[in-house]
Symmetry: C2
Amino acid sequence: MYKLICKDGNAKRGEFTTVHGKIQTPVFMNVGTAAAIKGAVSTMDLQEIGTQVELSNTYHLHVRPGDEVVKKLGGLHKFMVWDKPILTDSGGFQVFSLAGLRKIKEEGVYFNSHIDGKKIFMGPEESMRIQSNLASTIAMAFDECPPHPATREYMEDSVARTTRWLLRCKNEMNRLNTLEDTINKHQMLFGINQGGTYTDIRVEHAKRISELDLDGYALGGLAVGESHSEMYRIIEETVPYLPEAKPTYLMGVGTPANILEAVERGVDFFDCVYPARNGRHGHAYTNHGKMNLLNAKYELDDRPIEEGCGCPVCKNYSRGYIRHLLKAKEMLGLRFLVTHNLYFYNKMMEEIREAIENQNFASYKKKKLEGFAAEQGN
Amino acid sequence: MYKLICKDGNAKRGEFTTVHGKIQTPVFMNVGTAAAIKGAVSTMDLQEIGTQVELSNTYHLHVRPGDEVVKKLGGLHKFMVWDKPILTDSGGFQVFSLAGLRKIKEEGVYFNSHIDGKKIFMGPEESMRIQSNLASTIAMAFDECPPHPATREYMEDSVARTTRWLLRCKNEMNRLNTLEDTINKHQMLFGINQGGTYTDIRVEHAKRISELDLDGYALGGLAVGESHSEMYRIIEETVPYLPEAKPTYLMGVGTPANILEAVERGVDFFDCVYPARNGRHGHAYTNHGKMNLLNAKYELDDRPIEEGCGCPVCKNYSRGYIRHLLKAKEMLGLRFLVTHNLYFYNKMMEEIREAIENQNFASYKKKKLEGFAAEQGN
């Protein structure tokens, strides 16, 4: 399903064929946690800003509206009206970051819903069943996202269990994909590499899960508190042990600079909430660094957020107007920033793909990073 | 500028030519108080839902971002990127409903900003200057919106002052429209009829202001607490004393039923915040009455809000999805409801215009009201 079109150094330019269409990689997946992009951005809007993959959350959709509801309404694609690929994460990360008191057992995790405190059990089979109900294009394996920092002993036990869980995920998905009432019988499974900052554990785990011939492999448990340079080192030391002929997904990462560094180290799938989170703080991404639109200097500025930007916001609205919307707490201001920021990420991925094809990724990356670091001259 | 195309009973079908294009009446103006429609609806969206006139607020824009800022950015049309007519209300109503402690003097009103408590003075000349800076298509005269109920004596004094203020508004606008740096030198002025529920005061006032040959006339101070039947009676008794050959604007009204009743009595301009306010409460307008999308019965409903509705939301998204968005407090849910509700109003006005042209307004109105009153069978 994954075709490696070309490489430039370790950077991979791939094409991933799914039942919902082809994904050109490197790709940035646009996060719509609860089957909706933050900032009132609709799936119709996503079609206009170059979005290839939408990402939703298993845990959130399980607690609301319920995966059975989504299934009865025809699956996530029909529910949110999106015909391109959707990746669902497994709920593992949210169980460990959002949910109340939890108990990890061999069978899975017992925890309380963050909505109403209700007791929930989720194990590998439950996560697969939920994701099968959601009928996403790509399901993520149910893993433990270990705390950072964790002792070596804790990490070894955790990763061993995550491996056992992965086998159960694979078996359950195989079973689900054969059931008559399964909406997407071609659902794919990505495994998740863990091991924290212990490179040897990560490498052993990577080797072990690579044997399972899954549809893709993710690096999990990064960007959870370690430094950027440590994260880059771990990526660099682990990716060589994941199959080159499969997509490599760095979960939850990151800034535009993080993405450039990770692409250089062979990663080709990304997702991150920064475009929306920065929008909430009035921040817009540009090729000359982040802008804070709340800054008084934009009050009378009739230029777009970034001159030359092809996003629907920059093609129409001025910094002065957007600043006013943010100051007046009009929802439209957030919608504009999220739209621009997602477009910025999607567009950067397009440039990255082109740079790899043209075998000039290194110089592209250098120039891009210099731009980000430049004094915001706007 | 106003051409009375035809009448059906007292219902007027008109065409109002402005420097920003023609307005087909009866018309419902879409409210964007602070130069933005609530619910993250953009002016690009308005172009798709049949909006003819956008309405913004003099008081709100004076306090934020400041009318001088809007002027420097080229006026409201350029600021919010809207090429069709814009009506600005005068700030009078907001000064009397929103602002803190106020003192009414012959020269105008002293009051405190509801944003930061800052002392502000606004009189007829100030309101005209602000609206000239905003460069709206139609400016409203600065009036006193008297409390309801008010004594006869209070009302007589208030209306007399409103008349004196209107003359000052007219003189000031004439002056402003000749200034070289005025953005819209063709800005038009609508006078506002007041008098509360005292019909004789309203009629005398209507006669008096009709002599001024303004571009249009509004009924103000209605829908402020009196009953619907009392409001209809006042409209019925006052409208005959306003020029038929000018637009007649019922300010801040109202429900779809209110609009049908007022059209029948000769009104042809409307505005109201209900489409957005109802959206905030999960309510959608349909031809079978209002729906509460939060209702559990819509959880698995894959139909659009209203079958056959041509709005961008109904063409794509289901009740089940919208209910989920509202439950999950996703901003997208509000955007969808406001979009649908504005479309519903705009579409109803289109039907009203057609019914008047076809001389079957009475039967159209009857059928429409029966539909609204019907048990919500959805």
